[in-house]
């Protein structure tokens, strides 16, 4: 038990992402309302983004933009431990964009479904398909 708490605390960024991820996953599978599924999908993607970004963090570091970046100081010694890891940020910028795009497409399809079936409840759609 004594080891357990530090273990939990040491990775709490991860636990937060995990909880969000599971909420999203559950929602995507279980929800009957398609719009809620889309929302869950967004939560799911955000959880992964959170996970990535948090792993690039370093204690006591700042954003990855070089201080004194211009002028004659430019080439002065740079200490990598001062700056957060830029790579996860880059990756997640891409992932955010992908997420937004997927969301847009999903919403468009959803509008179409609503127009065709008159509902966005999954069970009602299935009924109307069977008819």
């Amino acid at each position: 038990m004594a080891d357990f708490l530090p273990y939990i605390v040491a990775k709490y960024n991860y636990w937060a992402a995990l909880v969000l991820l599971l909420i999203g996953l559950y929602g995507m599978i279980a929800k009957n309302n398609l719009l809620k599924k889309v929302i869950a999908m967004s939560i799911f993607q955000s959880a992964i983004i959170l996970f990535y970004v948090s792993m690039g963090d370093k204690k006591g570091s700042t954003i990855p933009i070089l201080l004194h970046g211009h002028g004659e100081h430019g080439a002065l010694a740079i200490d990598p431990s001062q700056y957060a890891n830029p790579l996860p940020h880059v990756l997640m910028l891409t992932a955010i964009v992908v997420g937004v795009s997927t969301l847009g497409v999903a919403l468009a399809v959803l509008q179409k479904i609503h127009r065709v079936h008159g509902t966005i409840e999954e069970d009602e759609i299935l009924e109307s398909i069977e008819e």
Binding site: Q45, I48, T94, T102, V109, L110
Partner: protein, 497 residues
Amino acid sequence: MTAAQFPILILIIPLLAAFAISLFGGRRDKLAYGLLLAAMSGSFYAALQTLLLVLETNIPIHYRLGGWAPPYGIELVIDHLNAMVLCLVSGCALLTAIYSLPTVRAEIPDRIHHYYTLYCLLVTGLAGMVATGDAFNLYVLLEISALSSYAMLARGRGNAYYATFKYIIMGTIGACFYLLGVGYLYIKTGTLNMADLFRLLAEEEMQQSITIRIGFILIMIGIWIKMAFFPLHGWLPNAYTRASTTTSCLIAPLMTKVSVYIMLRLMFSVFSVEFVYGVIPWHEQIVWLASLAIVAGSISALAQRNLKKMLTYIIVAEVGYMVGGAWLANESGLAGTVYHILSDALMTLALFMAVGAIIHKTGKSSFAAMEGIFRKMPVTSAVFVLGGFAIIGIPPTCGFFSKWYLIRGGIETGQWLFVGALLFSSLINAIIFFRLIERAYFGDLSGHGHGPLPERDEAPAVMLVPMVVTAAALVIIGLYTSEIIGRIVLWTIPAGL
């Protein structure tokens, strides 16, 4: 520009063509069509040149994007395996592009140029996934191909929206699992380049790390969802059945095959033989699952009364072939899988094209459409028959030889369940296709063949030519099996197997 630039041209030509079509294609359909053909031909030419280059030197081509050395920049790595798959992707895309115009005009009344834009983007995405040597770049391209395929599938015949929506949800779960898995690899290794990951993951500490193992499992599940591996296949049949003809001709042969390629790539270029078959002790169980996939897919296909839906279930079974072959953990099985990527894509393409032409001409997609087709559309039905023979695995079509290797792999490892499943599915396929051929041949159930004969009403030449080419390829590739196995497939077998 030199020969060294061919790898990137495979992707860039369709990409730029996509924008060109969206800008200028709106004026006339023919212009959009012409641009599409030009782009696909260019891409195919570049892919062929790349393949020849690889075959000549037998060394993988590394192409540094932006000139940055990996692992800092992104690179394309083209070896025997993906050179072959690239040719396959661009070749199938070219054939489908030629084939597309009549059906697209009939089924997609407006905004053909946007449809063709998406077509190009999809091809770019698929080719990019195959060519890349970077795990995260793979994700981005996966999403491009996914998004464009959502759009193409949704513009299907009748009510395709609900099926597409399910596909979006499943596809996103798959892609996110993959992304999460890559995150796990990144957190332990700090790199995203595949070769670099391979080097770092070979270390003893990494081999034992539970994070890496679970990362691997997540990646595999993600890819399996994407390739519709049983029991994660639920989204595929509905989505593909309702798609328009050209869409299904493009997506059905390529999507699952590219996913299988990605699985192989990740198994052997990111992880290693020892890790995949040694550290993860489940390869036997996965082969059992694959056998189940084959049996379930075949039986479901047998139960269908709609041509396209039947074909989609055959795809589910074929995915089982390839996953099973890859996890047999021996050379024959893997060679069979790689060869089956090639042959299955072509036979699926031939069948979807033939069925598309039949639907185009008869307006029906149920089995009733097949009645008397032999007289009405002799060439189309010949293609259909040949494609069916390849699926059943009748020599000398290429389907026989891939099955040959897969069964041999099963026998060598003693996976009798898998061998049985393969034979079972061959028999079921034989029943399925001969039932259809019988209908096509005899015509109306009550007729005696001496009544008035149906008029000959063949599909237009633009549809026939690619169909015939594909069907011919089935036999030609079958006859050149030994060449293909020797010069390409055996090079893809990782060391240590």
